[in-house]
């Protein structure tokens, strides 16, 4: 009886899962390459960057906030790390932590402006999206950074871009982050507070929850995750560009929404977000395989987002009416 109930409420993720299966079936019929292991691994690899950022976005959206600055935050972290790796001022391990601290600090700036100054997160992060992008340009003087010295490429940090057997290390990093994020959200008091804050912040505040700090931590976490994504990307591509991460904020938000979260807050899961991120990567991958012109890619993603949310609405309309 009880287990049945739980399965029914999980229907939200089931909807996304269904969309993913449909897309995969279509792809495997139309493209002979699609189901090959190498291609599937590639899809998951392409999920990494968006997936990691979408984890942080899930927390923010459930807490009733939004972060538009993640693409720029990612670029600033990448450029900052790139500069430090390049001029060999510090050992790679120190740079690794400095990049994460940079991410957390920039995330905290967002969080403090939202929670302590009281400016809506949409506006704050719209502003910092522009500001952080300028930081990225300024750090590199408008130029990309590449051809890293041995002290960087030979270090353990560069292993983030390597492979174990046929499987890229970054996939493991992403999966571990998803598992930790799931546990943090579902099994700890912090996760409980995130849901309560996004569900009804007045009631949460009156229940003794520090809603400001709950949100601040989510923004800081977002920054931290952007830092990790930036390090992985640097190690994988061996280059950092000032324009990297552009539009990533919307991809991350789309993945979270695909996963069944409500922009109004209080609802969403890490599993859903994971599936959402995989869908995005699968669609992109599929379009390359089917030789769809590049300029149609974003359009298709848009269609998938709307269809997935439509299915979700149809599934849950009855609930909503009650």
């Amino acid at each position: 009886m009880n287990t049945k109930k739980i399965k029914l409420t999980n229907a939200r993720e089931f909807g996304v899962f269904l969309v993913l299966v449909i897309i995969m079936v279509i792809m495997s019929v139309t493209s002979p390459v699609f189901l090959k292991t190498a291609n599937l691994v590639n899809i998951v690899r392409q999920t990494v960057e968006i997936g990691i950022m979408a984890i942080g976005m899930t927390y923010l959206i459930i807490a009733g906030e939004l972060d538009l600055s993640v693409g720029s935050l990612f670029a600033t972290c990448a450029m900052f790390g790139g500069l430090l790796f390049k001029n060999q001022m510090f050992p790679a391990t120190i740079v690794f932590f400095l990049v994460l601290i940079c991410g957390i600090a920039l995330g905290c700036v967002n969080g403090l402006l939202v929670t302590r100054v009281g400016i809506p997160s949409f506006i704050v992060t719209l502003g910092t999206m522009k500001i952080y992008r300028s930081f990225a340009y300024a750090i590199g003087n408008g130029q990309s950074i590449s051809q890293f010295p041995e002290s960087a490429t030979g270090s353990w940090v560069w292993k983030l871009g390597a492979k174990i057997g046929n499987i890229p290390v970054q996939i493991f990093v992403m999966l571990i982050l998803f598992v930790i994020a799931h546990i943090l959200l579902k099994k700890t008091t912090y996760g409980y507070k995130v849901y309560a804050t996004g569900g009804n912040d007045r009631a949460a505040h009156l229940s003794g929850i520090n809603i400001k700090n709950t949100r601040l931590v989510a923004f800081a976490m977002m920054g931290f995750l952007c830092g990790i994504a930036a390090l992985i990307s640097t190690a994988y591509l061996n280059t950092v560009t000032t324009t990297s991460g552009e539009g990533r904020e919307m991809d991350a938000i789309a993945a979270v929404i695909l996963g069944g979260a409500a922009l109004s807050g209080g609802r969403g899961t890490i599993l859903g977000t994971f599936l959402g991120a995989i869908i995005m990567a699968t669609v992109k991958n599929g379009m390359v395989l089917l030789n769809v012109p590049v300029f149609w890619q974003d359009g298709f993603i848009g269609i998938v987002v709307i269809i997935a949310v439509l299915i979700d609405t149809l599934f849950h309309r009855k609930d909503a009416k009650r």
């Binding site: 409420t9 409980y192 009804n200 949460a204 505040h205 209080g266």
Partner: protein, 495 residues
């Protein structure tokens, strides 16, 4: 002549639950027909069927002798229904006039808004309801009571054939209620408007109603003439048992002082408030809506910041800056507005009940499922909450059970001081008496209770002492022995 509305064998199911089961009765033109029943008895479902929000699973609704499919809100309006809902569906960011004429043809002249006409008509309407505000005032600047009056005014303005009032007086002061009754009587008399009236206040049913229909658990029980029944009869029909009042009126107060407030002030909201609360004592805070009662509770709980005065807990001076501080000092507060301040509607029953007691269901930040389930079972048992599964959404519960969850949540916090703001607002007689028992039980355990209520019988039944406020000042303190409704009203009006 055919009755104006006839319900024929109406059944309404939601999934597995039967909200209405084979209900048949009729309403005559020009009568005030009251619907009585506990929360979850099916009254709201019936109203939503009339409003076109739901359609019946089985059975037919006949209006004016014709079978009608009421499958949309528009259709319902076309048939002459006008519904005043319990929750206020108005736009807080718009003016009173704009709210009243929202969606009406009268709002426009050509392609432009007809502000002059709207404001004039709104002013007439506000005068009729004795509401002293400007038609251009934004709705959010009004109190909840005034907003309810605006909603009723809006329903009345369009001269409906059938007016449905669902708990219209829940937030109203006695004066506003009298005014509303006068207007409703006038409508019935002059325009033969039919009124379907839902209220938990049986005095109102006796006062206003011609006939009443009682529901219990989705079943039709009986239709009677109001003049032929007493209030006790109605309660017995609704609850199916008699309520034991013999224990009420016993005091558990001790001499040990828990809370004392000296010279507490907060801007224009209240000024120089002094009182104390003892262990096991239930103190009432009476007065009209807007007298500053809720604000005093908020200030003690740290939700508002007072700008003067001192708070002592067990003789020690404390500073309470936030609800967190208050909870640390073992103060709990059951807020007035359940939907906005009490519940997190996106969460389950269990999650709602435990959101203030996270420490008790976790080990070093990790939630402990076993502890959580145990605590929940304990809560269900102690407070008689009727639920299917504790993982169901909180909105699947009736209002009375939702309120019990809110109370359980705050008592589960193990407080020494419990502040309650209108603890029985909008819940039925049966649930009310259960809430009273819960409050008395915890007073017996030595918790001090400070409770705001607009229902005088409730204050008289429960409180050891009643403090009365008028326009932000304490105007009287009444002991249990001398308490009477007249005396409270005298202080509340500061005569």
């Amino acid at each position: 002549m055919a009755p104006i509305i006839e319900f024929k064998n109406i059944t309404k199911r939601f999934g597995g639950t039967v909200a209405l089961n084979n209900v048949s009765f009729s309403v005559e033109e020009g009568e005030v027909h009251c619907l009585c029943g506990e929360n979850g008895a099916g009254k709201s479902t019936l109203i939503n069927l009339c409003g076109g929000v739901f359609t019946p699973t089985e059975g037919e609704i006949w209006v004016d002798g014709q079978p009608e499919q009421i499958n949309s809100i528009r259709k319902s309006e076309r048939l002459g229904f006008s519904i005043v809902h319990q929750e206020i569906p108005l736009c807080l960011n718009m003016s009173i006039a704009h709210n009243i004429f929202l969606g009406s043809k009268e709002a426009v002249k050509g392609v432009f808004l007809n502000e002059k006409h709207m404001n004039e008509k709104t002013r007439e309407l506000l005068d009729l309801f004795h509401l002293k505000v400007e038609p251009t005032a934004l709705l959010e600047s009004l109190s909840i009571a005034e907003q309810s009056v605006v909603q009723i005014a809006k329903a009345v303005y369009f001269r409906p054939k059938i007016l449905i009032l669902d708990e219209p007086t829940a937030a109203l002061t006695n004066d506003q209620r009298e005014v509303m009754f006068t207007v409703v009587r006038k409508l019935v008399k002059e325009q033969r408007t039919t009124v379907l009236y839902v209220s938990h206040r049986l005095e109102e049913v006796m006062d206003l109603g011609d006939r009443l229909t009682v529901f219990k658990d989705g079943q039709f029980v009986t239709t009677r003439k109001v003049s032929e029944v007493s209030m006790d009869d109605i309660v017995t029909l609704m609850v199916g048992r008699e309520i034991d009042k013999s224990e009420w009126g016993k005091s558990f107060a001790t001499d040990e002082e828990l809370l004392s407030v000296k010279g507490l002030s907060c801007g224009k909201k209240f000024h120089d408030i002094n009182f104390s609360l003892k262990k096991g004592e239930i103190v009432g805070l009476a007065g009209f809506v807007g007298a500053g009662r809720t604000e005093v509770l908020s200030a003690i709980f740290g939700a508002d910041r007072p700008n003067g005065g001192e708070i002592f807990i067990k003789g020690e001076k404390v500073t309470i800056r936030s609800p967190r501080d208050a909870i640390r000092h073992r103060i709990s507060m059951i807020p007035e507005n359940r939907r906005d301040d009490g519940l997190i509607t996106s969460m389950s029953i269990k999650e709602n009940a435990q959101v203030a007691v996270m420490d008790r269901i976790s080990d070093r930040g990790m939630l402990n499922k076993k502890k959580s389930v145990e605590l929940m079972e304990h809560m269900i048992e102690n407070y008689g909450i009727k639920i299917g599964s504790m993982d169901d959404g909180i909105l699947t519960l009736s209002g009375g059970n939702q309120q019990k969850v809110v109370i359980a949540k705050w008592i589960g916090n193990d407080p020494e001081i419990l502040l309650c703001d209108e603890p029985t607002r909008g819940i039925d007689v049966g649930a009310k008496s259960e809430v009273y028992s819960i409050l008395r039980d915890i007073a017996k355990e030595g918790i001090g209770i400070l409770m705001v209520s607009s229902e005088l019988p409730e204050l008289l039944a429960l409180c050891d002492r009643i403090l009365v406020m008028h326009e932000g000042k304490l105007t009287g303190e009444i002991s249990r022995e001398e308490a009477s409704e007249e005396l409270i009203m005298k202080y509340a009006a500061a005569i």
